[in-house]
């Protein structure tokens, strides 16, 4: 478990627009080890997908990685070394139909990846493609390999996309909301498949989703992202048992159906802000039910909280000894009486 695949250090990805510079990812650091699944969770616009694209070197103009380092197996990628590791990192996107080319057979698309990344051609490539389709659980693979994406169901398409990703023989798999567009039964199949593949191939997985249930089920470690920053990082059990940051607590509380009953759902008011400048305050403060004066003038640093053995960090002044405010009692979440 100790060999680290990916080491992201203080990554900042910005988008230069005519009006302003948007800091989509603003100083995040995390590691992914072999065989480990690291989760990235947050609302739309919090910077999850830009983080994923940065790792793959897929950030396009006007976006640019302004600062920080991304090391893959010890090699620095920032600065254009992605080509050397092309194929070592693969990505699975949310919508399988957008990832597949409708005018080529599924087999052709897998074979393309096999040719580029493993140099396989002809019958050897076809056999390998069939094997990959079998690996991702598509029944009757030998027949299916000659079919087009439109002949596949939604779940099978996502399996095919995963097969293409695996054809690169990657070490690290980035999954950007891979099950969001799927039914819960199909989602369960895909999550099971990813878990199986990870164990077989000892893959590192960076898993991005806004679904806390999926996070709880699939990941080992979770980073909660808000406005380009990680506001809390912890092992998954620790995060769910003992969330510290008010944002994490709010996210967990607003999931419906966790408990029975007709109680009103607690909500987090407002929207994720767009970060355009160096933070001099807590970006969550305007929406935070526990914000106090200092939150508007001090940018919180990440500090260790919770179980000392758990490597649990959060960026919130409530846990900073310099300030007198103390965190709310455990179990008390954001006041549920707010109106929509």
């Amino acid at each position: 478990m100790s060999d680290t695949l990916l080491e992201v250090e203080n990554l900042r990805t910005v988008f230069h627009t005519e009006k302003e510079t948007i800091r989509a990812v603003d100083g995040v650091s995390f590691d992914v080890e072999r065989g480990e699944t690291v989760g990235l969770v947050g609302e739309s616009g919090s910077g999850k997908s830009v983080t994923a694209r940065s790792v793959l070197g897929l950030v396009d103009e006007p976006g640019v990685i302004e600062e920080g380092s991304i090391e893959f197996c010890g090699d620095e990628l920032v600065g254009g070394n992605w080509d050397e590791h092309r194929g070592d990192i693969a990505i699975v996107f949310q919508d399988p139909m957008n990832s597949l080319n409708p005018v080529y057979t599924v087999g052709n698309q897998i074979k393309e990846a096999l040719r580029i990344h493993q140099g396989l051609r002809g019958q050897a490539a076809t056999d390998a493609a069939i094997e990959l389709l079998e690996d991702v659980g598509i029944p009757d693979a030998a027949r299916r390999v000659t079919e087009y994406p439109h002949q596949f169901s939604g779940g099978m398409r996502q399996r095919a996309v995963i097969a293409i990703a695996l054809a690169c023989d990657p070490d690290l798999l980035v999954c950007d909301e891979p099950t969001t567009a799927l039914d819960v039964t199909i989602q369960a199949q895909i999550l099971e498949l990813l878990d199986e593949l990870q164990r077989e191939e000892d893959l590192g997985v960076l898993f991005i989703t806004h679904d806390m249930g999926v996070i709880e089920e699939t990941t080992d470690r979770v980073n909660v992202m808000y406005a380009g920053e990680f506001v809390e990082s912890a092992p998954v059990d620790e995060l769910f048992d003992d969330p510290k940051h008010p944002y994490t607590k709010g996210l967990l509380a607003s999931i419906p159906g966790r408990t029975a009953g007709d109680e009103r759902l607690p909500t987090i008011e407002g929207e994720v802000p767009t970060s355009t400048s160096e933070p001099s305050e807590c970006r969550f403060a305007p929406r935070c039910p526990h914000a106090f004066d200092a939150c508007e003038s001090v940018h919180p640093e990440r500090i260790a909280v919770g179980d000392p053995d758990a490597d649990h960090e959060t960026a919130c002044l409530l846990y900073d000894d310099e300030f007198e405010e103390s965190p709310p009692e455990d179990g008390v979440v954001a006041d549920g009486g707010e109106t929509a």
Partner: protein, 504 residues
């Protein structure tokens, strides 16, 4: 609330597409014999996988789709067969909120215009005036209240006038002249001013601000757009809303706010909801009762909490166990294989039999659990192949009798973990009687007769589940479940799943 009167009675409702047609193919049975009541003031949740017919059912109930068969009774009127004035009245009482707020709002209209559109279309207002005795009602934009229509204005025998609370006008806005047999009602406000006021009132009701009136949909976030969609649906003061995945496209924090809004509106306005969703956790939170749909049929129906904590139908059980995270403690996950079969060609007998984890198996074969699953899968592969659209090459190959022998062999090797024996044949480790059926079916498939192969497997390994169509059984406490295992001679689905999947 649970004992309230039914607001809507759905009886054996069917909606088929491509019915017969020129080529006489099988119709798509999107909704196939659904019956349930929706009670006044309740939220009935409707869940199921994509393509199970949830949305079609909702649209057919609203008469947005013409029902093929069956009826939907509201106040003893079958709303599937009405037209003209009656239909317009029903449409003002029953409205729909759509899933994708961006796609359901016109980009070129301001929010004010969007919300106002139903008012214009129905030439709102048209006040229902209730008068004593047989007196006539005269005047513009008023009519005599009929039946149990909601009264906007009441004029009693001695000329006293009262306006319904929450009506879009006040007593000062109208003059009533009760003279002998005739009651003259005159509105002082112009209809367009009343509509404008109504729209502003709606904006406030759904938590938007007045300045949003002149904005365009693209200036709104997803949550705000959905509020606009809700305001539009509420414009004509409906009593019933079909909510088709209203929060599926939203972030969890925004989703919570919309759910709270819907619950507030329901309390405030006494609305009845049909809440369609594939997200079971949302349904658990909002619904009083829940109906679980599969391939056009309601498999299980009952009070939400009971269904979630103790599902009766194997499909409900599998669906619930698929929810990620620790929301439902149903024990070990049962992963359903594949996707639901095509509604054009549903399995014979029980619709769910091709994927059922608790399927009744014939006693005469002693086959292991894994091999039973492999047999089911083999059957569905043959079925899928026989139904697949065939390209020209495939058809030519078939005609010439050239069949891809290798794919059948590979299938057996893969599914049954079998090995090739010395002379290239395949032997499956299974009791001889069962194995010989598989060999026969494989032989048929090699010869190109995949339908025959599927049939051979079905003949041998099928059971009552693939022969008999289960009725909706009463399983107590206001619940029904469509499973043959509820019969006395069979073990309960629960116990079977426990034994097959959850014991070591």
């Amino acid at each position: 609330m649970s004992e309230a009167e039914p607001f809507l009675e759905v009886r054996d409702l069917k909606k088929y597409y491509d019915d017969g047609g020129l080529l006489g193919g099988d119709p798509v049975k999107a909704v196939d014999g659904v019956s349930f009541d929706i009670r006044e003031g309740e939220t009935l949740g409707l869940v199921g996988e994509s393509g199970c017919g949830k949305t079609t059912l909702g649209r057919t109930i609203l008469n947005l789709e013409t029902a093929t068969e069956g009826e939907v009774l509201a106040d003893e009127t079958d709303v599937t067969s009405i037209s003209g004035r009656e239909l317009r009245r029903w449409q003002s009482q029953a409205q729909m909120v759509f899933q994708d707020p961006d796609a359901s709002l016109n980009d070129r209209m301001t929010v004010g215009e969007i919300i106002r559109e139903p008012l214009d279309a129905h030439d709102w207002p048209n006040l229902a005036v209730s008068v004593a005795d047989d007196r006539e009602v005269a005047g513009k934009r008023v009519h005599r209240a009929e039946g149990d229509e909601r009264r906007d204005v009441t004029v009693d025998a001695d000329g006293g006038v009262s306006v319904r609370e929450g009506a879009p006008l006040t007593r000062e806005d109208l003059t009533v002249d009760a003279d002998g047999d005739r009651v003259d009602v005159t509105l002082h406000k112009h209809a367009s001013a009343m509509r404008e006021d109504r729209v502003r009132g709606l904006l406030e009701q759904v938590g938007l601000r007045e300045e949003h009136f002149y904005r365009y949909p693209h200036q709104f976030s997803g949550g705000q757009s959905q509020r606009v969609g809700i305001a539009r649906a509420l414009a004509l003061e409906p009593r019933f809303l079909v909510l088709d995945e209203p929060v599926s496209a939203l972030d969890v924090s925004v989703q919570a706010r919309i759910i709270n809004l819907l619950e507030d509106l329901q309390d405030e306005l006494g609305l009845t909801f049909l809440f369609i969703a594939h997200d079971l956790s949302v349904v658990r939170h909002i619904a009083d009762r829940v109906a679980v749909m599969y391939l056009g049929e309601v498999m299980e129906l009952g009070p939400t909490e009971e269904v979630f904590t103790d599902p009766s139908h194997p499909y409900t059980e599998s669906l619930l166990s698929a929810i990620p995270g620790s929301m439902v403690e149903t024990g070990e996950r049962i992963t359903l294989r594949g996707t639901p079969p095509s509604p054009r060609d549903p399995p014979s007998g029980c619709r769910f039999s091709s994927r059922c984890p608790a399927k009744i198996r014939p006693d005469e074969y002693s086959v292991s659990g894994e091999h039973w699953e492999a047999l089911d899968q083999l059957h569905s592969v043959f079925r899928a192949r026989s139904n697949a659209e065939k390209g020209i090459v495939d058809v030519v190959k078939e005609r010439l009798g050239i069949q891809d022998v290798s794919t059948v062999d590979e299938l057996l090797l893969e599914l049954f973990d079998a090995e090739r024996d010395g002379d290239g044949g395949i032997s499956i480790e299974m009791p001889d009687d069962a194995a010989s059926v598989v060999y026969e079916a494989a032989e048929l498939a090699r010869a190109g007769d995949e339908a025959g192969a599927a049939e051979r497997l079905d003949d041998a390994f099928g059971s009552v589940c693939s022969e008999e169509h289960p009725e909706a059984n009463d399983v107590g406490a206001g619940r029904t479940s469509r499973c043959l295992r509820h019969r006395e001679e069979y073990e309960d689905p629960d116990a079977v799943i426990e034994q097959r999947y959850r014991s070591d």
